[in-house]
Symmetry: C2
Subunit: 462 residues, 2 copies
Amino acid sequence: MRDPVGSRTGAVVEAIRRRLAVPGLAAGERLPSIRGLAASLGVSPSTVVEAYDRLVAEGAIRARPGAGFYASRPAAALALADAATPADRAIDPLWVSRQSLDAAPGMLKPGCGWLPAGWMPQAALRRALRDLARAEDPLLADYGEARGSPALRRLLSRRAADDGIDAGPDHVLLTASGTQALDLVCRALLRPGDTVLLDDPGYFNFQALMRAHRVTVVGVPHTPAGPDPARFAEILAAHQPRLYVANAAIHNPTGATLSPQVAHRVLTAAAAHDLTVVEDDIFADLEPEPSPRLAALDGLERVIRIGSFSKTLSASVRCGYVVARPDRIAALTDLQVATGFGGPSPVAAQLVHGILGDGSYRRHIDALRRRLSRARREVASRLADLGIVPWLVPRGGFSLWCRLPEGRDAAEVARAALAEGVVLAPGAVFSPSRSSTDFMRFNVAQMGEPRIYDVLGRALRH
Amino acid sequence: MRDPVGSRTGAVVEAIRRRLAVPGLAAGERLPSIRGLAASLGVSPSTVVEAYDRLVAEGAIRARPGAGFYASRPAAALALADAATPADRAIDPLWVSRQSLDAAPGMLKPGCGWLPAGWMPQAALRRALRDLARAEDPLLADYGEARGSPALRRLLSRRAADDGIDAGPDHVLLTASGTQALDLVCRALLRPGDTVLLDDPGYFNFQALMRAHRVTVVGVPHTPAGPDPARFAEILAAHQPRLYVANAAIHNPTGATLSPQVAHRVLTAAAAHDLTVVEDDIFADLEPEPSPRLAALDGLERVIRIGSFSKTLSASVRCGYVVARPDRIAALTDLQVATGFGGPSPVAAQLVHGILGDGSYRRHIDALRRRLSRARREVASRLADLGIVPWLVPRGGFSLWCRLPEGRDAAEVARAALAEGVVLAPGAVFSPSRSSTDFMRFNVAQMGEPRIYDVLGRALRH
């Protein structure tokens, strides 16, 4: 083990380096205050002072007495990732995505965030493709409406009504993906330097996305009932954030479910501070019965719902959506035309509509939930043999958020497993404060292969 | 006719209002200097002074003596379009897109920027969909590689080689659309307040996109041989722009073709000022034989090629691409994962690959060029009967950039035609300086319906 104080400073140095590597950061740009950065990273001000001192010594930043710290050179305009470190070594928020998307054939991916292709509704997808081959000419060749397929928007409006959200088709905008839906909302609402709240731990790509928007992320500790409501209110008062991004139904990575009390307290605090909330619905179909929805409690006044079908239908057919007030939808539609000339592919929307509108999707989801329930039990039991224990038992979904035995460093375990052809998802990448270092997210649907447990056992002893 | 001086001030007032409506513009943000804005809009400094005075009187901006002009209130964070004007009245860079994409059934669209669905390779699309219904499971359900389908990237690399551009598959990134490809490049290279050069006239959505990036646009007068090279060099020296966005092969809207001499002068000036150039290849397949390519002359050192298949294959199957140096591609890939979790749909890429890789695409393009050549002649002759004359005779493509008779105001003609169910593309929306007010872009492939000419005749007499 390294000196814990030293490694904490090292983590802060890395966090500032990442900030310096943000696309387009100019020389002379002011860095966050010592107090502000200490709060956002969850470390003491003296740790930040030490980190800034180290970077001043390196020449990466400059101190102006009495006026703070400044970037001293133009960072690589194009670098979103840590430029100095090869991609397979830097355990940053893009690490898991990069390793999972570009895994060589034969790699095993218990760290990835989606289901195996064989668990998806293949027969329905193939039927929808054959139907599409008989569609009318304009559907196959035209751009389609700026807000996306009216039929799919009507269907999403009915699904919102089932969740107690009163949203007509004019409340719905289709996008190219769930991530792109969030990106569009961020472009419309945020400007560089704003503060955004993310769950800690939370989905790592939200951090990568916020880095692309050059905003400051503050983590809210997550509990089994949702964000810690007392800390949430304190952080709102202290940081005046512009946006909070939450998962609906099944939290990523913990599998936690929002309780009605926490939902109410979150919305009350949000109203008091005029905070906008994005609720990501992407895992909602995987929960056995509906849990509280911020969008339903709020009535879409300050909550924006986003989602996609990549976790339950197909990640290859790219289609996401935003459900929000019509005034927001109108502005987001213009923004999507300007930045993507539309975005929702009519062909993709028709495929999704063809499958969702068919009774087979409901049967697929029912079977999927049962299969995942079995897989969660089986994988939890095999992980227990290795001393790996889930933080909680999720009601649904494919993630188990587990503590490693004896405080092992998950990043080291992930590096050792990668060398043996297994992609894992180490805890720190989920954590805006870079804590959760002894946690790991496991995807139970990707863990049928016994070799995974052998590799994991060796990596833990590494 | 209105007082020309008054209307010029009015245009500048509108330009500043649009700037104030940029997403997220904060109160207290400094507006451009009088001299800078005058140069970028191509008007005299006294016109800008008059416009600023008018906005100060309205309370929209504040003057700080000796320190310039400032936004005096937070503009609507979400408004990209002119918030004060109903969408169907504001002739802004989003007008044509909005009217064309969301045209009611039965509307005629000589102003739109794409081919009718019946002109697209429908049989090949249907065959590719049926083939896809028999593809392997992962292609239909997985995210696919972060850079997009390797098969389509290899094919695009071979197409680049045909154009004299040495680019391996690691030089290629697939995106969700051509516009999204440009957006991604802008996000990586630009920061708010940077200056970008666009052709004047040029494709209107480039202006809308730059507005979303909060950069200052300077127009380069376009000639029948490309951008005016002398003005291009002067503007580079005066404004130090970060980026120039050009069309390859067939300029939108004029149909002009870049000459070898102009291409060389543009690249020489770009090198002297360290300017990056984006060359949009979207219309390239429509030209009868290849014209000079900036990317080929430059060897992808400072030129980035983008493109898509929306004009020649399908706009419903969304798939675009970037061809650039591998270091740029690596950074853009990270950025696309962060902001869209991938972006290129494997299903869409497979459809495009299935059609491009098949001899039928070449036959489709040959037939399309002949059909467009006939349509250009026929439409030019019918427009001549109305006194509407093309600025030049294009070598290919579907656009005719025409001057209206007697200096009629194209925006007024477009409003009158819209009332009769015909969407036109008035010249000013193509012009960063809001000139070209007596020009109109006509899409010859959308003008088979005789009623269009009746409506046009009435609108001209309006």
